[in-house]
Amino acid sequence: MIQANQQLDAKGLACPMPIVKTKKAMNDIDEGHVLEVQATDKGSTADLQAWATTVGHQYLGTVEEGEVLYHYIRKGSDEPEVEKSFEHTVSLETIESREGLILDVREAAEYAFGHIEGAKSIPMGELEFRLEELDKEEEILVICRTGKRSDLAAQLLAKKGFKKVYNVLPGMNEWNGKKTKTL
């Protein structure tokens, strides 16, 4: 079961209803959150992918269970690109040669559809409540999709007394290495 912030039941509905319902549901969730769309319309996979790209959301993937398709879409953000401010960074290319822990702060559903082998998942929104899962003395390489959330996460960790924190730039959207799925 993949974790999402909100579920939408669009089972039994034919085109264009899954899209129309998804659009409405998306209006009500926060930016960066993930919507799970349950549908039985076989065209919905291609439609939702195209729709998400058109309107600026991030299509994460689809899981098929029996007759039902579970689609995962992360709501896009209108916010302008902010300057990344955490000064300790490492390049994505060097990440595999390092010893430290890779901490993936994307949403659980993004992680599920593809992450670097061995990376630990703690979504940005949960990080401050789950600090005890991390070791303050260990090297921590924080990664997200583009480097924006990981910048904030790295700042948070440094503030909380973690000593060897690095923001990985760029993020998973540029990662061409092997991806592990946990579906």
């Binding site: 039994g12 209803m17 899209i19 129309v20």
Partner: protein, 131 residues
């Protein structure tokens, strides 16, 4: 990329109605500005009574079962949906005059206009579709 989709509805059968309203609602759900120009038989699709009795093409009546099985929304439902999503309906004044129809014969919220009204909207729309 154009943010507008312009549609001409010139036919009044049930299949025509689905083509028009499916594309229109899908486009509106994709955050496009959508206008439909209803002309000649197309006016049937938004006629208060007519929209409830749209006909299938001759010989294709057996598809009625398929529509039901696939749980396809009814045309009045799609019209409501389209309106809710902000699709703008324009009824052709000239056709209305010819057929002796007034604005009150149609679903609420439509506008009445001439060809130029639509052309003005459609000049920078992509795609423009005709059904």
């Amino acid at each position: 990329m154009s943010e507008k989709v312009a549609i001409i509805a010139a036919n009044g059968g049930m299949f025509d109605a689905y083509k028009v309203f499916n594309i229109a609602t899908a486009a509106a759900a994709s955050e496009k500005e959508v206008q439909i120009f209803f002309t000649f038989e197309g006016l049937n699709l938004i006629h208060k009574q007519g929209m409830h009795h749209l006909e299938m093409p001759a010989g294709k009546e057996h598809f009625a079962e398929g529509f039901e099985k696939a749980n396809i929304p009814s045309i009045p439902e799609l019209v409501e949906m389209a309106k809710e999503l902000g699709v703008k309906f324009i009824a052709c004044q000239m056709t209305m005059d010819v057929m002796g129809l007034t604005k009150e014969d149609f679903v609420d919220g439509i506008e009445v206009g001439g060809a130029v009204t639509f052309l003005e909207f459609a000049k920078d729309a992509a795609p423009t579709l005709t059904f």
